[in-house]
């Protein structure tokens, strides 16, 4: 069974204070690792898909990296508007065709 563990559960940063969120996973034959951002009262918003170890993707202040056991979401010089819950999900060979397994998320608060 695929598993995803995200840490920390909650993170408070000062504006401009860079940090990283962790997503550890176990999956049989990774077919994609996904990062989403979720704002209160809204659905998850797609950020990145990573497919293989060593792959990196960037979007504004966010950079996602992938190893064989975990993924990191690096946030550089965050702003208050980056405050949200960040979700990680994986899809593996053992799962259904298009079914991701989600972690519980990291709640990020960036103080001005």
């Amino acid at each position: 069974e695929d598993q995803v563990t995200q840490s920390p559960e909650a993170l408070r940063l000062q504006e401009g204070e860079s940090s990283s969120l962790n997503c550890s996973y176990t999956v049989s034959g990774l077919r994609g690792l996904f990062w989403y951002r979720q704002d209160p009262g809204k659905g998850p918003e797609f950020l990145f898909t990573l497919y293989s170890a060593g792959e990196e993707k960037e979007k504004e202040r966010l950079k996602a990296t992938l190893t064989k056991k975990e993924s990191f979401l690096h946030i550089t010089a965050p702003k208050p508007e980056d405050s949200a819950t960040y979700l990680c999900a994986v899809r593996g060979r053992s799962g259904g065709s298009y079914i991701p397994t989600f972690g519980r998320g990291t709640s990020l608060i960036v103080h001005p």
């Binding site: 995803v4 077919r31 994609g32 996904f34 989403y36 009262g41 809204k42 659905g43 998850p44 918003e45 797609f46 898909t49 497919y51 979700l87 999900a89 899809r91 259904g96 065709s97 298009y98 079914i99 991701p100 397994t101 989600f102 972690g103 519980r104 998320g105």
Partner: protein, 117 residues
């Protein structure tokens, strides 16, 4: 382009009653998914439609849940009769026709918060 929409945004019902949730996917998206998030836990898959056909319904909790997708457009998820443990946020997501290499980008709706009392 309009995103995924869900109705209602909130629903409060009593145990034993029936509730129907609706999801309108992004136009042209063949794939439609239902998920549920129970408070304090992760988002869990319920089922997946490809057009009007159920591709995978392995996540449906029990036979009190019935999902339909009329003509491959909008979808409904009916809970009958509702139980206390059915409370949670129900999300719908859609994606374009799946390709072998992905990227399997799913676009989520805002969710329906269901409270069963």
């Amino acid at each position: 382009e309009a995103g995924v929409t869900q109705f209602p945004s909130h629903s409060v019902i009593e145990k034993g009653q029936t509730v129907t949730l609706r999801c309108d996917p992004i136009s042209g998206h063949d794939n439609l998914y239902w998920y549920r998030r129970v408070m304090g836990k992760e988002i869990k898959f319920l089922l997946h439609f490809v057009k009007e056909s159920k591709q995978d319904e392995s996540g449906m909790p029990n036979n009190r849940f019935l999902a339909e997708r009329t003509g491959g457009t909008y979808s409904t998820l009916k809970v009958q009769p509702a139980e206390l443990e059915d409370s949670g946020v129900y999300f719908c997501a859609s994606s374009q026709e799946a390709r072998r290499q992905g990227p399997w980008e799913q676009y989520f709706g805002p969710g329906t918060r269901l409270t069963v009392t």
